[in-house]
């Protein structure tokens, strides 16, 4: 058995324990120090992930391949950005505790396990490790009613989803006799084994995972949790776990259940259309920017699911490229949201952005870039995500999905450019507080990536292509 396959996860877990110890043993305030250590641990892990060898191990529980490496690197980048975004916010609010980076670290361990899992059991373990850490994070501002409410809501609904997932897993196990992806694929390649019980189990698995990626109709928790959770937690929630959960869903659908494409394709198509429609329409009426981002993320998940529904390698490649661009523009957008502070008070209303172009041109420009990118306007990175997704849809002949997709992207463009309108066209409000360096760094990095992605898309696309190839859908 090749135990070194999981070396990055093992190292990260050990780092987590060490950071926890440091945090407990030191008497003085260690939030900043622990955060920096966590970032260091992420970098170390990323290095191990990038240089590690591929293969399957732990009796088929765990696999390292180009797909998992791509997703893991993306998760680590997103988690690092999440920690950097939390630095200043947590200092200023009542969340200056070293447990914060440690929780993010363990959530990240869960995500790394998720994207490498090739057994329904290890999959569930990863999902739960992530979820439990994130429930606590959502309620981290414990003196704030909204945050506690968000945590509780997330926990209750999340547990229900975990239950659905577990129930689906047990059905799949009961009707196929195995939980290992490879063996499942083998069993299901014979049409005789496609029993109705198995399909029901599959649908439950999809439902459980759809909750984790907040796809309609399992999205109800998203707006409330996004709005209620402390903003850095929302920023984290909207990026890293989304990457991991989408990657997980892609792997589960493609490798063990790949032969049941005809069965789950319609489900994914339906979920995708509903997500895109809700993401486009429900966001229009929002006044709170965090809530708007919640609906926007639901819409983005809808687009990603088009790639999955296409059921081809081109589709999976599209999903991965979309995730890549999504992480950077989303992290950047949240950096801009975290910069919305006046006299020490965080602001969340879209109208608070009024005339930002005059008071802080740099931030305004970055915000505009992220909004245009999310709306899918070329030449920004978001356009390429959509481009490769729609390419796959067209190749698979999913015209309904493609047409609904592009039309909802026009509808959602309305609320994105409305934010730009508030920033650029409206009269100026009072200035925001001085931006902390950490926020500026993330916003600038996101904006640069989003703007200049079009110059060298080829290596990223090639990496996504290589990653999608191993799923042999």
């Amino acid at each position: 058995m090749n135990w070194t396959l999981a070396l990055p996860e093992i190292v990260l877990t050990c780092c987590g324990m060490a950071i926890l110890l440091i945090g407990v043993l030191q008497q003085r305030d260690t939030f900043h120090f622990c955060s920096m250590l966590t970032v260091g641990a992420f970098m170390l892990t990323a290095e191990l992930v990038a240089t590690g060898s591929a293969g399957a191990g732990y009796n088929g529980l765990f696999t390292v391949d180009t797909f998992s490496v791509f997703s893991k690197l993306l998760v680590l980048v997103a988690a690092t950005l999440g920690i950097i975004l939390s630095l200043d916010y947590n200092e200023h609010s009542n969340m200056r505790r070293f447990e914060f980076p440690v929780l993010i670290l363990y959530a990240t361990v869960g995500m790394l396990v998720m994207v490498s899992a090739t057994n329904l059991m290890s999959l569930y373990l990863g999902v739960e490790l992530l979820s439990l850490a994130v429930y606590v994070l959502a309620a981290f501002a414990r003196d704030e009613l909204r945050s506690s409410e968000a945590g509780l809501k997330y926990f209750v609904l999340g547990s229900l989803a975990s239950g659905l997932l577990l129930y689906g897993v047990s059905l799949v196990y009961g009707f196929s006799g195995t939980m290992e992806f490879g063996k499942l694929a083998q069993t299901l390649s014979d049409p005789a084994h496609g029993s109705p019980g198995l399909i029901v189990g599959l649908v439950f698995v999809i439902a459980g995972l759809a909750f984790k990626i907040s796809a309609v109709p399992f999205h109800m928790w998203t707006p409330d949790v996004y709005e209620g959770a402390p903003t850095p937690v929302t920023a984290f929630l909207a990026t890293a776990p989304k990457v991991a959960a989408v990657a997980l869903l892609v792997r589960v659908m493609a490798s063990p259940f790949g032969h049941l494409l005809a069965q789950w394709q319609q489900v994914i198509i339906l979920v995708s259309i509903l997500s895109m429609l809700l993401g486009a329409l429900a966001a229009i009426g929002q006044r709170n920017i965090k809530r708007l981002m919640a609906y926007s993320s639901i819409g983005h998940v809808g687009y990603m699911l088009i790639g999955l529904a296409a059921g081809t390698q081109a589709g999976l490649r599209g999903v991965l490229i979309y995730l890549l661009t999504y992480v950077f523009m989303n992290a950047g957008a949240f950096a801009c949201i975290l910069a919305m502070r006046r006299r020490g008070r965080m602001l969340e209303q879209i109208s608070d952005l009024g005339g930002l172009a005059r008071t802080d041109p740099g931030l305004a420009l970055a915000f505009a870039v992220f909004m245009f990118s999310m709306a899918g306007i070329p030449p920004f990175a978001g356009f390429f995500g959509k481009y490769f997704i729609f390419t796959a849809a067209v190749q698979s002949g999913l015209w309904t999905l493609a047409v609904i997709g592009v039309l909802t992207s026009v509808v959602s463009a309305f609320y994105y450019i409305r934010i730009i309108k508030v920033i650029y066209f409206d009269p100026a409000e009072a200035e925001f507080d001085q931006r902390p360096a950490s926020i500026s760094v993330v916003a600038a990095a996101g904006a640069l990536f989003t703007t200049f992605f079009f110059l060298i898309p080829a290596p990223f696309v090639a990496a996504a292509e290589a990653a999608a190839k191993v799923l042999n859908l």
Binding site: T391, V394, L407, S409, K421, F425
Partner: protein, 507 residues
């Protein structure tokens, strides 16, 4: 390498962004920044203009193929490349863009007083997008420029526009975006069939007729909004009225040509069968546009709105010309596009001149300007007459050629099309009479000043172009004769096997 010996088209496209970078580095108080931004933008656009004259001089009109082609790998595995090149159809539009941009910057010299730096940045970015769009020889690259235009234009209308600028900007953005995204799907389907987005390759890829229909409809959705054709023209009057003068100029001068250029570059040559079978629909929409919007123009109280509606009518003639599929029609459409680019730009500048002085666009607030502003009255008359197509001005040549082409297709089409010209005379002369003639009664007009030297400088090239195009049109048509000839030939060749199937066939 190409005829110029260096990547001329890329330089033309990306040079304005260098100007942007310089403007961004300017520091100092607001007045310094504004002055520096103005001068930098002007010089950048003038350098681009001079470079584009190199293109004008070294372009070989006898060659029907793409020239100055440059190519670089971009997404090579997917048959997508960064490819630039011009042929007879696009070369003059590159020049139109590079000529109008410095004029726009000059026209905004005093009119724009707030956020000058951003304004100049927006115009330079816009120039990059426009030039890049006309040069792009890869469909995806074209699409990126085509949509990228929305970004600077959204800001130009929304930040420096009139009272209803937000409504106009958002309407403009969403209308155009809604059309373009359908074109994106068509692009993807073409890529799926041909395995590349290279335009010269696509031009020689036969698409199955059933697919052509869908592709054509998707293109129509996109280009019809841009042209704009009736009934999706309603964003235009709003956008024109609310945009600052220079914004209207560039919108009428170049942006409206993007749709017609799209028809000529993609729809007609790539989808010959569908183009032929949809020609009656295009004719119907165009004739409706010509007649209906002319009547609407007749009823306008707002100067810019009137000119905007007249643009819709003129562009109706352009689409008629394109879909006649004969040399006269297409040649006329191209000429009309260029002429409209110059004349409507000049008319919006004329509207801007008095707007800068009196700050109203309402026609009724003017009258008798001939007394105080003889120079202005003269220029306005010249452009009015060019707009109605007086022989000797640029407007005549285009309309005449289009109608000749239309006659070859259908008598009634030509008749109804020429009705638009008569109505055009009516609303333009009516506009001119109300603004320039009559008694000067309003007190605020008594101290109005005639054109300043800066304004003369803005108008001079437009006057020269209008007369040059009217008096010696072959120096312009010569550029595209070979290309259009080849295109018409190819179109007819493509239709030969399907003679009995096609609904409308040019003789």
């Amino acid at each position: 390498m190409n005829a110029a010996g260096f990547p001329l088209l890329s330089l033309l496209t990306w040079l304005p962004l260098v100007g942007c970078a310089i403007i961004l580095t300017v520091r100092g108080d607001e007045a310094t920044v504004a002055a520096n931004a103005r001068w930098t933008a002007l010089w950048t656009s003038l350098v681009v203009l001079v470079l584009s004259l190199v293109l004008w001089v070294s372009f070989d009109p006898s060659d029907a193929d793409f020239q100055f082609v440059e190519s670089a790998g971009w997404l090579p595995q997917w048959g997508i490349a960064y490819k630039m090149g011009v042929d007879g159809i696009s070369v003059l539009f590159v020049l139109l863009s590079t000529v109008l941009t410095p004029l726009c910057i000059l026209a905004s010299w005093e009119a724009i007083t707030v956020r000058v730096r951003e304004y100049m940045l927006a115009f330079l970015v816009l120039e990059t997008m426009m030039v890049g769009m006309f040069c792009a020889l890869d469909f995806l690259v074209f699409y990126m420029f085509f949509e990228g235009v929305l970004i600077p234009m959204y800001f130009i209308i929304g930040v420096w526009g009139g009272p209803r600028r937000v409504y106009a900007a958002i309407k403009f953005f969403l209308y155009t975006l809604a059309g373009s995204v359908l074109m994106l799907l068509a692009l993807l389907l073409m890529w799926h069939v041909a395995g590349t987005t290279d335009v010269p390759t696509l031009l020689h890829t036969p698409f199955p007729p059933a697919m052509q229909t869908w592709l054509f409809l998707a293109f129509l959705a996109s280009f019809a909004v841009k042209v704009p054709m009736w009934p999706v023209h309603t964003w235009l009057p709003d956008a024109h009225v609310e945009a600052p003068t220079a914004g209207s100029v560039i919108l009428a001068g170049v942006l409206l040509k993007m749709g017609a250029y799209g028809f000529l570059r993609f729809s007609v040559p790539m989808l010959p069968a569908a183009s032929a079978s949809f020609a009656p629909l295009i004719f119907a929409l165009s004739v409706t546009a010509v007649i209906y919007t002319s009547y609407v123009a007749l009823a306008q109280q707002d100067m810019k709105k009137l000119i905007a509606y007249s643009s819709v009518a003129h562009m109706g003639l352009v689409t008629i010309g394109i879909f006649t599929f004969n040399i006269q029609g297409i040649s006329g459409a191209l000429f009309q596009m260029l002429s409209h680019g110059v004349v409507s730009a000049a008319l919006f500048l004329c509207a801007g001149v008095v707007y800068d002085r009196i700050h109203t666009r309402e026609i009724a607030r003017y009258g008798g300007l001939a007394d105080r502003m003889p120079g202005y009255a003269f220029l306005f008359m010249l452009f009015t007459l060019a707009s109605v197509g007086l022989p000797g001005t640029s407007g005549f040549v285009g309309e005449f050629l289009v109608l000749v082409g239309a006659f070859k297709v259908n008598f009634w089409l030509a008749l109804l099309g020429s009705l638009g010209m008569i109505l055009g005379v009516a609303y333009m002369l009516y506009l001119y009479r109300r603004i320039i003639f009559g008694a000067l009664t309003r007190p605020e007009l008594r101290r109005i000043l005639d054109l300043s030297p800066r304004e003369w400088a803005v108008f001079a090239p437009l006057v020269a172009l209008t007369l040059w195009m009217g008096v010696y049109p072959s120096s312009f048509t010569g550029f595209w004769d070979a290309t259009v000839g080849a295109m018409v030939e190819r179109h007819q060749a493509a239709l030969q096997p399907a003679v009995t199937l096609a609904g409308v066939l040019p003789r």
